[in-house]
Symmetry: D2
Subunit: 359 residues, 4 copies
């Protein structure tokens, strides 16, 4: 009901506020016998961590994860896996000046309208800090998927008006992690980084687009009606802070095509059924067809800016809001591990759900 | 698990295949005391019905709805509301020729891969016929929302490369239902209709974009983490057959903006807190802020075409598939009531869920 | 939320009132490839049907089931299976005299208090007629379980103060269906039947106890914490109209035992791990251990009696209620197929859930 | 799916093993604005804590609770409330001798059969230690219920063959906490305590019965079909370790009554509709009627005994198991706060669910 639980068979419950004692996640439904590598969970958190480069927020958080349950002698036991991350650098004093003010395009006003009160410190639970729990859980999902040869790779394909035009098959995705922007094209990455630096210098922020490719998913995952594979993926990605759009396969661009050009012809390749093109984005009728799954997601410019802005307070009076908190000038670089984690959670869920398809 | 249930508090279960005896839906969680107007449910089904104009499929279905339970003396009783629609024009002979063939970009192959067998008649449950159940349930949701002054209006804003450039505040949405395309701009509608006719003449199909506006939602609906209002809306819309993308508010276009331009300044207007711009699309932090909610959705060209296509059969052998079934040359006109229904279901769900927010 | 959905992986949604047009059920999550024998579904409904003997209600209902979806060429397709039963003998006039009166120990008052209105015809949805949908769905679950060698057998072990003292291993359960009471001991059955006849002659009703044995469940079904096998069974059985208690294994009688006597010693028998005694009732730590599962359930005397009773009406005024509807003098005989159906639904659910236990 | 989540609107997720680092719970769905008294949560844990008296297990656990999220300035914020309890006295060496042995009537064998591996230290998650998380969450539920004048009181009514015959209206429930057995009748309590001491001296264990009364529930809580109030209560109680039976209202004893004697006549008392008797146990048709709700639950003798027992090991070989762990000779005294907590969770859930009943 309150929406802090995600998934059906591989199900997570997250908790924690930006400036509370800790954030964390409980995974319910991870099958027993999975090798759980705590170092890998930590490495995924390190990819999302603030302060990892000059173009992300400088909040100091080590994000050290503790495994509290569900793992015995490095194997999952089938019991809930609880992962805990204590908040270290929670400077509550940073936020007292906005305790009764609504920051534009943040969740301050809507939280007050809904709950009648709110934990205003650092945005409370509406802070992107909440996504650390997603990344920790996603790391476990990734380990489960890896055993089946599935690989999820996200990257930044647009920052502001700088667009990486090449489709993913023409890119070397191994280069994604070689630059702080997480764009696999070094030249474009450099230009994106420059833009982010310039924007930050202006006390401003900028949006962008994230692309992702999932390879190795067998045909048959996803449910045919409401829980279509791409519908669940879409929800997962849209639930990430600042996400404003999701498209998969041919997406918005494909609408101008005719069916005769858009349809993906089947053929047999070395005994496997494949399609000659992949406008379907690896999903047909909501179910994976064995081809690569790929999608794009739009992220708005971060709402926290240094510039003074007009707003109102709890009493409806006009006030000026000035940004003081540490924040990202552009969420895209850090959105990469988060989007991968959310995709991994959806995949792990449908992996288990698919076990119920046949007698 | 199998994904034929949608919603949390206002929850529907749908069933039925294209060429089975009937399709239907059970609504669980409709509060008692709602006035249920069966004629309105029927009128919504009529908007989705095949054969309603020259540019949609000519399958003959009256889609006459029966209310089997949950309504007594025109009021909902709090018990499940079951709505049943018998299939009338289910010509199974039309489909025998593709019983063992996989139609390109349909769900034939993925169903076989997942289930090991499939009801091939008219696409079985992967047929868009399934959406009649959504529209019937959505009509009940609309009645619930209407009592709270909420109005959902979708329209066609793009067919192929014909784009209605005007944003919704500049349109007269009362004109949407005055033409078979369901585009509120008569001139654009005419050009769209011509394109659809031309495409159909070629035995081909074409995609498009649907836009929607929801007015009257109070601040405070939607949940802040996974079940963000727009994430649930996105999933709902993406679960509609042929949908390939979803964006809300500033969407993909907004990513090139800077935060200083994108942020929606709060001000007080006649005692109500409002925003001067609405790039947020009426949702902040996943929760409605009282402004209009608006979104766009991409629909691919229908996969069923008259032209012969290369494919494979169950045995992996190369075959030719020729379209013979009745189908839509463009799903957009009929997608309008379906998208409204899905949006209504999400809204009704979050309307009830919001009752749990405070002591 | 509104509780007309049951189960997690094998999930049913039921609908329908006693005197509405129809009742029915949608099964979501039945795996594809199950042979579905419609005649068997009908035969299970016939076991529950009113009018089948002289000691049950004489309402005339054929309870003819229609399969509306999810089955193609006698096999389940993985799509929702909708089963519909039209109400035939719904004499609404029988109930107008109690439209504003609260029958003692019925759900009339609580429905009014909860919903503000109610369908008073024949008890509406609180009527035991609702259980026909459970039996229909349970029949599908039984078919799924039968393929795995599982057999569920319930019988009547007490009516009023007539108690069948023998434990199930000393009984011939093949005799259960040979008498209208459904007690496997012919002599006890005869005495029970006489008691029921006598009670009915007095215009009164009587309660009893149902026992059940489930054979063939492999070790490993059930979840270890909240969804313990017996907890889910208990909920399922307690949700049947008139049920007041549930116990499994040693139950209430076992509390006076010492642990040294109650513990079930393990041993190996022909390569299989078994227990020498079975006070555990086939379930340890909420998970099946491969031994027989057995339980007992208490059913109160039916609330509908012919005698005049004191009560109040909607306005709180004192009134006299006189029973006129057709009703069962004792629910136990008809509770047998219903309890079996509910047990089958729990088993089918945990059968599918167990697929997620290991990598 | 894996069953570590309980509830629908007020929903908890628990985690943790007996000898892992910590156990805990996340509450999702607690409305904002509830005053959260951490001292009360701690006091409830103290009631369940091991080592509190001479007749319970002597494991040393302070069970100090930490509130990690969801509470700001002593008020719930509507965000998930995470409660954490570190394990202090987890002597893993105690259990190495049974690592590959199946203790009789424990969950050792069933866990191995289900998961293929298990955390054998102290029973892992099958340990009653898991219930501390339930009690912590239940304390929050109790605070929510207290604001509505609802009081839940459980007590021990039977230990072995010592039975407290008086029904609850004849007891002074304020005396329950005055003795270590938690029986409100001092004389009976003394005899029960003596029996427990004698049993422990024999290295044995003994079962018993718990009774509970819930006062102050308004009419209209509970759902009419599968989620009947008593069905959800029954599942909740049956999910507690060692519970073998549940009955409410007249229970098993009521089956011998006739309907004319069992029916609870309605009358009006000072403007309120009440019943003259309460065989219904405060619930009719699955919905509360405003009268006291009362139930009884059977608990078997604890499986851990000091005496040597025959069993088998993972390889199926015959072995002898000797009890060495610290354990309770009788679970009843500590079951009292646990059962109250589970009842509170069900009540809080249905309290919130009832908000959806009417327009």
């Amino acid at each position: 009901m309150a929406g802090n639980i995600f998934g059906t068979a591989f199900r997570i419950t997250t908790f924690g506020e930006s400036h509370g004692p800790a954030i964390g996640v409980v995974i319910d439904g991870c099958p027993a016998g999975l090798f759980v590598d705590e170092a890998f969970i930590q490495s995924e958190l390190d990819r999302r961590r603030p302060g990892q480069s000059a173009i992300v927020t400088q909040r100091k958080e080590e994000d050290k994860v503790q495994v509290l349950s569900g793992v015995f002698e490095s194997r999952s036991t089938g019991m809930p896996i609880a992962l805990l991350i204590y908040n270290a650098d929670a400077r509550s004093q940073d936020y007292s000046h906005i305790a009764d003010k609504f920051r534009p395009s943040h969740a301050d006003y809507t939280f007050s309208a809904k709950y009648g009160l709110r934990d205003y410190r650092g945005g409370g639970r509406s802070s992107a800090r909440e996504t650390a729990a997603r990344v920790a859980a996603g790391a476990v999902a990734k380990m489960l998927l890896k055993e089946q040869g599935i690989q999820i790779r996200a990257y930044v394909s647009q920052v502001g008006d700088i667009v990486l035009e090449k489709p993913y098959p023409e890119l070397n995705l191994d280069l994604t992690e070689t630059n702080p922007v997480r764009c696999p094209d070094p030249d474009t990455a450099r230009r994106m980084e420059e833009l982010i630096r310039a924007v930050r210098k202006d006390g401003d922020t900028i949006g962008g687009v994230l692309s992702a490719v999932i390879a190795g998913v067998p045909a048959g995952w996803g449910e045919p009606v409401f829980d279509k594979f791409h519908a669940d993926l879409g929800k997962a990605i849209l639930s990430i802070n600042a996400c404003k759009g999701f498209e998969y396969g041919s997406g918005f661009a494909g609408v101008a095509m005719r069916g005769s050009a858009h349809n993906d012809a089947f053929h047999t390749d070395a005994g496997h059924i494949k399609t000659r093109t992949n406008h379907s984005g690896g999903i047909q009728g909501g179910i994976s067809n064995g081809m690569d799954i790929y999608f794009r997601a739009a992220f708005k410019p971060v709402a926290t800016i240094v510039q003074a802005q007009e707003s109102v307070n709890e009493g409806g009076e006009t006030v000026t809001v000035e940004g003081k908190g540490r924040h990202d000038p552009c969420v895209l670089p850090r959105a990469v591990p988060i989007a991968e984690a959310m995709a991994a959670l959806v995949l792990a869920d449908h992996c288990l759900r698919a076990r119920g398809a046949r007698m």
